[in-house]
């Protein structure tokens, strides 16, 4: 009888031992999309933090009449921008924008080296949905402030450096991961450099821009 009990006890030991090592894989979290930069609001920014670009600007300078009824008629000009930017989040970027300002009015022309600091918001969908929804058109809006170092022909100015401000909107057409075409509009406002021939004249322009950006 003792032998029978001993055999039974030995069997129980084997059973309980195996029961303690029940390997079974269970899914306890939902796997995230394996995007190169992760799956948060910096998914793209982490991979392509910086970008550079260039823009052609077609500027429509606005006419102005001062308090003494002295009037300058605005003309259209062409100029260019050079841009270097940093992507803080996928939907937010900051950029330094050098603009070669060429403003022409009847009897006055102003050439400026203008440096803007622009803050822009991109309408880019959340990274969670990018595997299922490809987005090549990325509209944006933004605003910038800056300084302009000016030279003027046809008049004299008191302030060779004047503040400037801008608001802008546009459309980024992303052709792959590294390259984007940019077409946009910018309203540029230059605080008055204090012309001697026309008081309180603050040059403003509607600018239509097209260019390209390269991400790296």
């Amino acid at each position: 009888m003792k032998i029978k009990l001993l055999i039974s006890a030995l069997c129980l030991i084997a059973t309980s031992a195996n029961a303690e090592i029940t390997y079974r894989v269970r899914q306890i979290t939902t796997p995230v999309n394996e995007l190169p930069g992760g799956n948060d609001r910096e998914a793209l920014a982490r991979v392509h933090r910086f970008y550079v670009g260039g823009m052609y600007d077609f500027s429509m300078w606005q006419s102005y009449t001062d308090k003494n009824d002295v009037r300058v008629g605005g003309k259209n000009t062409s100029s260019f921008d050079i841009i270097a930017g940093i992507r803080i989040y996928d939907t937010f970027r900051l950029e330094a924008d050098y603009t070669r300002t060429k403003a022409k009015f009847e009897g006055i022309s102003l050439t400026g080296n203008t440096l803007f600091l622009n803050a822009l918001v991109d309408a880019r969908i959340d990274s969670m949905y990018r595997l299922f929804h490809s987005q090549h058109l990325i509209p944006y809006v933004g605003a910038g402030i800056g300084l302009s170092g000016n030279k003027v022909d046809g008049a004299k100015i008191d302030d060779k450096i004047s503040p400037a401000a801008a608001v802008m909107a546009g459309l980024g057409i992303e052709l792959g991961e590294y390259f984007a075409i940019d077409a946009g509009y910018r309203y540029m406002y230059m605080f008055t450099p204090k012309f001697d021939v026309i008081k309180n004249f603050a040059p403003t322009a509607h600018q239509f821009r097209i260019g390209a950006r390269i991400n790296f």
Partner: protein, 255 residues
């Protein structure tokens, strides 16, 4: 109970222990990929691989695959941006004073750039910049302009999207109204122009939105502004209120 009975009882007690997973299974699952095994445990779809090539596509029919041609995945959005322009409605705008005379706004225009937040399925808020240029009848050499920053609260008259169970449907036509205020700089160029700081309050909007896709739409809206503080024209009293009406079309892009 004889010896053979004890033997069978012992065998039965040992058998369940072999039904458990062994370390061999564990190693196999690791080699196969824990995510694959884990997913298969829940999905458990026995779908055979498609035959390769064009011929395979013609000969074999896919089974167990959902037809996605009429299914669109909703991308939830929390913000939007808006950009556009419009014209001033001269008949619904106060005439500018020019001394003792009045001049009607003609050919005046506005551009607008905004950034908004979708607070709920029918409430939005937005900050925007507006740049307007006014020209007036019989005043070729004089114009006015203003630049304002504003904040608005919009109420959509119908929910922009409707959730029914697992299906979310975007509405393609949504009328809306908005109320808010703006402030900025306002200048009537030339001698005796009423220029300076201006407050646009209230600023009210009534319009409708047409969604072209789930993310992109067009807004067409009437905008009323009561401009406070400067008068409206040349040689006029600096003060009081003046009414300005615009019709503005803009693209709204959600993200």
């Amino acid at each position: 109970m004889n010896k053979i009975s004890w033997f069978f009882i012992a065998m039965l007690m040992v058998c369940p222990s072999y039904a458990q997973y062994s370390d061999k299974s564990f190693k196999s699952e690791v080699l196969r990929g824990l995510d694959v095994v884990g997913t298969a445990y829940y999905v458990d779809v026995e779908a055979s691989d498609d035959a390769p090539g064009e011929l395979g596509g013609e000969v074999y029919e896919k089974v167990g695959v959902v037809d996605t041609s009429d299914i669109a995945m909703l991308v939830p959005t929390s913000m939007y941006l808006r950009a556009g322009g419009g014209f001033n409605l001269g008949f619904a705008t106060d005439y500018a004073g020019f001394g003792d005379e009045k001049r009607e706004s003609t050919g005046s225009y506005t551009t607008q750039i905004g950034l908004g937040w979708n607070l709920s399925s029918y409430v939005r808020t937005e900050i925007d910049a507006q740049m307007s240029t006014f020209t007036f009848s019989k005043l070729k050499n004089r114009q006015a302009n203003y630049q304002t920053l504003g904040a608005m609260l919009y109420f959509d008259f119908a929910r922009r999207y409707v959730q029914t169970g697992d299906v979310t449907r975007m509405r393609h036509f949504v009328p809306f109204m908005g109320i808010g205020a703006g402030l900025g700089h306002y200048e009537f160029e030339g001698a005796n122009g009423s220029s300076g700081f201006v407050i646009a309050a209230p600023r009210a909007t009534l319009g409708f939105n047409i969604m072209l896709t789930d993310l992109i739409g067009i807004d067409i809206a009437y905008q009323y502004q009561m401009m406070i503080g400067n008068g409206f024209g040349w040689g006029v009293r600096h003060g009081g209120v003046d009414n300005i009406s615009n019709i503005i079309a803009s693209f709204r892009v959600n993200f």
